[in-house]
């Protein structure tokens, strides 16, 4: 068990509790930078996909995990980001302009729809975002000159300062680019959460009434959080577009929204780390299922590939089991295990009992 002596306020709000955790993050980042030299092309592409999902998961985490606003329509912001980025780059703008613009457009759109939406809470917000998703999906089909309609559009390959970041031609560079974006966003996100703005998000999540009493402008905070959330998701969407290469509206289906929710819930609501764990799970699971299926087919002759929809079913069952047995997600479970060993033998079952739920009744109770 480690005892941290805090001798100054700066020390108290430091991102890392002690030097050891700072070193761990540095080592992790180092391994991630060296990854292209350690694994093959296939797994590098998978790692890139995981990072993009983690970025999108962080976007949703701001809204769901840290502000308590449930969104069932975040695929809409992914698609806005992807289409803005692709359209601007097809118009001849460089990636360095198009990419931030994609985040900005998605973020502004999110903030604009959030302003009426913040009057709603809980289930109503969830359903309003679902409606926005359907409307955006149909708009994408309608706005054919920009989006290519049903046929789809192509995200051009990225080049700046004369270096190619093509998804297929220079996968290593593409990976490093995405790693850089993800690292920057994570760093910004972690810092946001210890700033007054981030603290006000948590206050709004835990109790709107108390937050208002403490002088927080709840409407502005919620709109800001939702805008930031959709902006980060828009960035992820732009990268997803480049990763896929050629896409149409079907890439951003309702299932993507639900998968994103899966990422944040299974990963652990309210933890940045949760977005990464969830992303690893959701991108790793299909691979694992495929490997297991091949193994089963080879050893026993049972061909699970012939059953359609098995993957989705397994995801759903995992999700149900997590919600019932481990609502704090993978990261919450990890925290429990770590604490158990750190303070052995003093750990108690009730140490992690939830004091507050993230959503409350709309009616008087």
């Amino acid at each position: 068990m480690r005892i941290v002596f805090k001798t100054s306020y700066d020390r108290d709000i430091d991102l890392h509790e002690h030097g050891w955790s700072r070193a761990k993050i540095a080592v992790l980042l180092g391994i991630m930078i060296l990854l292209p030299f350690l694994v093959g092309e296939y797994y590098l592409a998978e790692a890139t996909n995981t990072l993009i999902w983690a970025l999108a998961g962080m976007g949703l985490m701001i809204a769901v995990g840290h502000t308590g606003q449930v969104s069932l329509g975040h695929a809409a912001f992914l698609s806005i980001g992807a289409y803005t980025d692709a359209a601007l780059m097809n118009a001849g703008l460089p990636f360095l302009v198009a990419f931030p613009a994609a985040g900005l457009v998605a973020g502004l759109f999110g903030a604009v729809i959030a302003i009426p939406a913040v009057r709603m809470s809980g289930i109503y917000l969830a359903i309003a975002t679902l409606a926005v998703f359907v409307i955006v999906e149909e708009l994408v089909i309608l706005l054919e000159p920009i989006t290519g309609g049903v046929g789809g559009t192509m995200a051009p390959s990225i080049t700046f300062f004369g270096i190619s970041f093509d998804r297929y031609g220079a996968l290593q560079n593409f990976y490093w680019l995405i790693l850089g974006v993800v690292a920057l966003v994570t760093w910004g996100y972690a810092n946001l959460m210890r700033s007054p703005t981030g603290r006000s998000f948590l206050a709004v999540r835990d109790s709107e009434v108390s937050a208002r009493a403490l002088g927080i402008n709840v409407t502005r905070t919620k709109a800001l959080a939702f805008g930031l959330s959709s902006g980060v998701t828009g960035l992820a969407g732009a990268l997803m577009g480049h990763y896929i290469g050629f896409f149409n509206y079907e890439l951003f289906s309702i299932f993507i929204s639900i998968n994103l929710l899966l990422v944040v819930t299974i990963g652990g609501l309210g933890f940045i780390q949760g977005a990464f764990l969830g992303a690893i799970l959701i991108t790793g699971m299909p691979q694992l299922i495929a490997i297991m299926r091949d193994g089963l087919n080879a050893s026993t002759g049972i061909d699970l590939g012939s059953i359609p929809g098995l993957d989705t079913m397994m995801f759903s069952v995992i999700l149900i089991l997590f919600i019932i047995f481990e609502p704090t997600g993978l990261y919450g479970r990890w925290l429990k295990i770590r604490t158990y060993f750190e303070i052995f033998p003093l750990a108690r079952r009730d140490m992690f009992r939830r004091q507050k739920s993230y959503l409350k009744t709309e009616r008087m109770k």
């Binding site: 069932l72 009426p116 929809g309 079913m313 149900i320 919600i323 009744t361």
Partner: protein
Amino acid sequence: MELLQLMIGGLANGCIYGLVALGFVLIYKASEGVNFAQGDMMMLGAFVALGLGNSAQMGLSFWLAVPIAIVIMFGVGWGVERVVVRRIFGQPQFALVILTIAMGFVFRFVAGSIWGYTPLVLETPFAGQNLRGGGIVISVSDLITIGVTIALTLGLWAFFAFTRIGLAAQAASQNQMAAYIVGVPVMRINSIIWGLSGAVATVAGVLYATRGAIDPNIGLLGIKAFAAAVIGGLGSLPGALLGGIIIGVVEPIAGRYAPGELAIMSPYIIMLIVLVTRPGGLFAQMHAKKV
């Protein structure tokens, strides 16, 4: 004439949306949770009736198959509450939303594995029969849909207004803790309500199946029905029906006179307008949120 024809078809469609929305409202009224698997329960109900009634499957008579399907789906709804939903009692609403979405996928998988993904047609005694008059064609199944919906809504209203269980359910929905203290078995009421919403979903599914072929993906209709429930105000039975009818009537008319994409968007646009102007729905039952 054309408009009238569209409206009658839309009315029958709207009744089905309304019935699925009734299922949402029942559960919302009782436990303030939203069952996003309602559309998939409708789908499962329709398939159970099809499995019992079609001559290629069990071959029971239609009038026998539908009540059995209703009973089976009552059991499914009851079982879902007992086995899954009860365990997350006290967790945030959000948990139930994700849980039921996931359950919807499981239902879809189950139906897909048993009955396959190719569209199937439910055999009914009144298939293909039409009434003609004054240039309008009304199919018998449309009329039956409208009639059954009216009867079921009245029945549910009477259930909540006059029976002991209905009154207990109302009490539990208004204040669970107080209801518990005065001796209402809140947990058991919840199970019954879930069962009831499964039964209502089955009726909606069978009515849907009388009007066309069904496949495991018709459960996505649940999203539209949810829009209907929200338009009506999530706690109101007549509101849900009205919301369903509004959506059902607007959709074909928008599809006839506007681009097809707009028709798909129309339910959600209506819902957003209602949510922005009257956040509690047309028949609001919500009160200002207190600490």
